[in-house]
C-alpha cells in the first residue's frame, strides 16, 4: 500500500485507508482513482500529488542571468523596479500600516499603489501568456529563489516562496483546465481567492481555513461574476 501527498496543501491519500466519504473504499489503488479525483482539502487535481517514500532528486540551483542588484546595497537599486512592482510594494506597505493601525499612512501608501498600478497596464495579451510565465516560475524561478533563501537561512523569504509555489501549482492546474474547458470550467462553481496568500479554490463555499496559509475563512473572498 502506498501513500500520495498533495503538493499544494499536504493532504495524504493512503491507499490502505482510501477515502470512504467519497466512495473510495480502503485498499483503493492510486491508479484506480478517477481522473477527476481532486484533493478533498484543497481541490487540487490528481496530477499535483507526489508519491511518498521516494526522495526527489535534489533540484540544482538555477541562477537567473538578469541580476537586478547594483552596487553593495542589499535591497537593490530601486530604479530597477517597474511601476507594477512599486505598486505591489506600496500596497503591501499599506497593509503593514493597517496592521499597525496607522490609517492615514495606509491611505497614503494606497494612493501611491493606485498611481503606479495605472502605469503598468498590459495590452494585447491572453491568459495563455500568463501560463507560459507561470510554467517558467514553477520550472526554474522557485528553485533558484528557494536555494538563495536557504543559503542565507532567510526563513521569511523561504516562507513566502513555499506559499506562493503552492499557489502557483494550483494556478497552473486551473490554467491547464481553462485551456481545455474554457468558460465551462466555472459553469457550476464559485471561485474563491485567499486574501492573504492568493490561493484560488473552486467550489460551493470557502474552506474553513486556507489550505496553504491557514488563515481563517473570513479572509477568503469570493470573486463574483459581473
Amino acid at each position: 500500500m502506498r501513500r500520495f501527498e498533495c503538493s499544494v496543501c499536504g493532504y495524504i491519500y493512503d491507499e490502505a485507508v482510501g477515502l470512504p466519504e467519497k466512495g473510495l473504499a480502503p485498499g483503493t489503488k492510486w491508479e484506480d482513482l478517477p481522473e477527476d479525483f481532486v484533493c478533498p482539502l484543497c481541490s487540487a487535481p490528481k496530477t499535483v500529488f507526489k508519491p511518498l517514500g521516494e526522495t526527489a532528486a535534489p533540484q540544482p540551483a538555477i541562477k537567473r542571468n538578469n541580476p537586478v542588484v547594483n552596487g553593495d546595497r542589499a535591497h537593490g537599486d530601486i530604479r530597477d523596479l517597474s511601476a507594477g512592482e512599486i505598486a505591489a510594494i506600496c500596497s503591501s506597505l499599506a497593509k503593514g500600516c493597517e496592521k499597525q493601525r496607522l490609517i492615514e499612512e495606509m491611505e497614503a501608501y494606497s494612493a501611491l499603489a493606485d498611481y503606479f498600478k495605472t502605469k503598468g497596464m498590459a495590452q494585447g495579451v491572453t491568459l495563455a501568456d500568463t501560463a507560459v510565465m507561470l510554467n517558467e516560475d514553477i520550472a526554474k524561478g522557485f528553485a533558484a529563489a528557494k536555494a538563495a533563501a536557504q543559503a542565507d537561512g532567510d526563513r521569511g523569504a523561504l516562507r513566502s516562496l513555499i506559499w506562493s509555489e503552492k499557489v502557483s501549482i494550483m494556478l497552473q492546474s486551473l490554467l491547464d483546465r481553462f485551456a481545455n474547458e474554457g468558460d465551462d470550467m466555472l459553469s457550476n462553481t464559485k471561485i474563491f481567492v485567499c486574501d492573504i496568500c492568493g490561493f484560488i479554490m473552486l467550489g460551493g463555499a470557502a474552506p474553513e481555513i486556507c489550505p496553504v496559509c491557514k488563515v481563517p475563512q473570513y479572509k477568503i473572498v469570493e470573486i463574483e461574476r459581473r
Partner: protein
Amino acid sequence: MPAYRNVRLCGKDCMCLYVCPTGATNTENSIIDTAKCIPGCMACVNACPSGAISMIPDEYPPQQPKSPEVVTEQRALGRSKVQQEEIAAAVAATTDSAVTRQFAEALAKSNLRMAEDILRESGYLLPQSAEARELLTAMLENTAPDFPTDAVERLLNQLHKTPDQN
C-alpha cells in the same frame, strides 16, 4: 503606545470598562478612544479575559537584513508575478465573457497577493524601514502633474521623523 481592541475576540466581558481610569474603553463602536487612552497604562490589556486588547507599539526595530542573492531572486520572481497580474487584469478589462472576466479577476488578485508577499520579503517588510524611506525619497524626483507628491511627503514626515530612525 495606545491600546487596541480586536472586536472579533471581544467577548463583552467588560473588564476593560471597570479598570480603565479614563473611560477610553467605553465607546459605542468598540474602538478604544486613543485621545483618552493613557499610553503604556496596560490596565485593560492585563484585565481582559478574552485576550482581545493589545498595545500598538510606537517604535519598531530595524527589519532583518536581506542578502543580495535573496533580493535578486525575490525581485525576479516578484517581477514575474506582477507581469502575470497585469496580463490577467488586462484580460479582465477587455474580455466579452463574464466568466472569463471572473476567472481573470481571480488570477489578477492571486498574482498580486503573491507579488506583494514575495516583494515584501525582498526588503520591504516594515513601512518605517530605511529601505521604504529610500524608495519614498526617490519618488520625490517624480514631477508628473498627477503624481501624489503629498502622499510621499506625508509618509516621510509621519513614518520617518528622524533620519536615523529605521
